[in-house]
């Protein structure tokens, strides 16, 4: 419990900054939507006729930009990027920072097992991620409501945030697993960010070019695509299973490797 409280406190400042960032991002994007709205319906007509690949380059996907909800779908990918960066960084540093700050001797001499320490740290990270997700959910609902014209959207945003949450968990655990495996824990955050950027750009590339569509299994950003989640497709079972197994594998990797590794002191 002490380790958990300590981690919560250590991450408090970062959590507050990230929450504010998330809120500002949602709010300012929806203000931007109001501007787009003012320029009239015809933008949407134009976009409908635009080829898929061109829209992908401009980051618009196949959303109906005339509704607040459709516009939110475009925003989702940026929010996902923000949330996953937070999760990855958090996961990688929460495990590796003891060695980075030379506090591992202090912590690991205490009469608690390594598994317990990892559990406490993971729980703290989990709570942080949940809070970010909730901030995102609440600020999205508030802001979309402001510009919405009587369409149902709360269900759709909640579904998107559920997808986001799984995404956050995957990247959080990529961070912890890398930090647990790596011999030089200092490099864990950069390696995890590398994976993050690679998968993000891969998902952009898949949008632009349908020939490489089969690569979508490689990038978590494609598992819960906003346009699928909010259409009849919904959560595809194959991706749900894939994410669940990824989470289990990464979680056990974190435990197994960290229990056995030599700590750099």
């Amino acid at each position: 419990m002490n380790v958990f409280m300590r981690e919560m406190k250590a991450n408090r400042k970062a959590l507050i900054i990230w929450s504010i960032g998330v809120f500002l991002m949602v709010a300012s994007s929806m203000v931007k939507y109001a501007g787009l709205q003012a320029s009239g319906q015809s933008i949407n007509d134009l976009l409908v006729s635009m080829p898929q690949s061109l829209k992908a380059i401009m980051g618009m996907g196949t959303f109906d930009l005339s509704t607040a909800n459709g516009y939110y779908g475009v925003l989702f990918i940026y929010l996902a990027m923000l949330a996953t960066i937070h999760a990855t960084m958090l996961g990688a540093t929460i495990i590796s920072k003891e060695e980075r700050d030379k506090t591992s001797e202090f912590l690991f001499l205490k009469p608690i097992s390594r598994s317990k320490i990892i559990t406490a740290k993971l729980l703290a990270a989990f709570v942080n991620v949940v809070i970010i997700n909730l901030v995102m959910l609440v600020s999205s609902i508030l802001m979309v409501q402001k510009y919405n014209h009587g369409e149902a959207f709360i269900g759709e945003i909640t579904r998107l945030m559920l997808g986001m949450f799984i995404l956050q968990l995957i990247f959080l655990l990529i961070g912890t697993a890398l930090a647990a495996i790596s011999k030089h824990p200092k490099t864990a955050p950069s390696h995890a960010t590398g994976i993050l950027l690679f998968t993000f750009i891969l998902s952009m590339a898949i949008d632009m070019n349908s020939r490489i569509e089969n690569l979508k299994y490689l990038t978590p950003f494609k598992y819960f695509d906003a346009k699928n989640v909010n259409s009849s497709v919904g959560f595809e079972p194959v991706f749900v299973i894939l994410s669940a197994s990824l989470i289990v594998v990464l979680l056990s990797t974190t435990y197994v490797f960290y229990r056995k590794r030599d700590l750099n002191v």
């Binding site: 931007k32 501007g35 320029s39 009239g40 134009l46 080829p51 061109l54 380059i57 955050p189 750009i201």
Partner: protein
């Protein structure tokens, strides 16, 4: 000279990684160009039917759709994002790492002035960026010539590509000034990712409001691609501000660094 070589060696691996990342991203994106330009041709005919004002709002100019320069301006967004992270990360770490890794005592007790230390580090960082940019320029130009069958202005293409270097320089300077002002930078990557993304998002927001003054706030908007394509030159007011910012940041870093307290082990 020793310090310079030491820093180059210390950043060899990271420079190679960043260079490879930038080169592969530009190759992947440009390789999609032929398919997209075919689709764009069809779209071009469609878009002629829409009112001029609307096309302006979306930033689409008829003559450029489907040309390599237009396509390149779009994908350059991702490239500039990666490049900015590299620059910021390099700047934020190169001076602060001595304190973080407890090597400041060792380095600063050597018979060299702090100004010299700073100069060697700056030169090393600059060299890393120059190397990255040379490889990037070569890869991008070769690739562009391979995929585009029609003639296009190589000068404009190079001007567009060179903005990567200027952007990186600005973020390098920003990284250095931040790292000398902050007493102790514990972890560099979260700091640089946070800063770069904050500017990136500000940039994304200013692009719709069309407010010129706001553009001065974020380095991502100093180079307006449609302006460069149209006039085949940079906007001089932004160039002056950019150069001014870099100079002031570097001079201030020298002044602060030569006077500041160094936290020793």
């Amino acid at each position: 000279m020793n310090m310079f070589l030491h820093e180059l060696k210390a950043y060899r691996k990271s420079t190679i990684t960043w260079t490879l990342a930038l080169v592969s991203v530009v190759i992947v994106f440009l390789s999609m160009f032929p398919a997209i330009s075919r689709e764009a041709e069809v779209f071009k005919e469609l878009i002629m039917g829409f009112p001029e004002a609307l096309r302006m709002a979306l930033g689409l100019s008829v003559e450029n759709i489907g040309s390599i320069l237009e396509f390149y301006s779009y994908i350059f967004l991702y490239i500039s994002l990666i490049g900015a992270i590299q620059g910021m990360n390099l700047g934020a770490s190169i001076v602060s790492k001595e304190i973080r890794e407890k090597t400041a005592d060792f380095l600063l007790t050597k018979p060299v002035t702090r100004t010299k230390v700073m100069t060697s580090k700056l030169l090393a960082a600059l060299t890393c960026l120059v190397i990255t940019n040379i490889f990037y320029l070569v890869a991008a130009s070769v690739m562009a010539n391979l995929v585009e069958t029609k003639a296009f202005s190589m000068k404009i293409f190079l001007l567009l590509s060179l903005t990567l270097f200027f952007l990186q320089l600005m973020f390098l300077a920003l990284g250095i000034i931040i790292s000398v002002v902050i007493p102790k930078t514990k972890s560099v990557l979260p700091l640089s990712l946070g800063t770069v993304f904050a500017f990136f998002i500000v940039g994304a927001l200013t692009s719709t409001t069309g407010d010129q003054a706001l553009r001065y706030l974020t380095p991502f908007k100093y180079f307006d691609f449609s302006y460069i394509v149209k006039n085949s030159s940079y906007e001089s007011s932004f160039m002056i501000v950019a150069i001014g910012f870099i100079t002031i940041a570097i001079i201030a870093s020298y002044l602060i660094y030569t006077k500041r307290d160094i936290h020793s082990a």
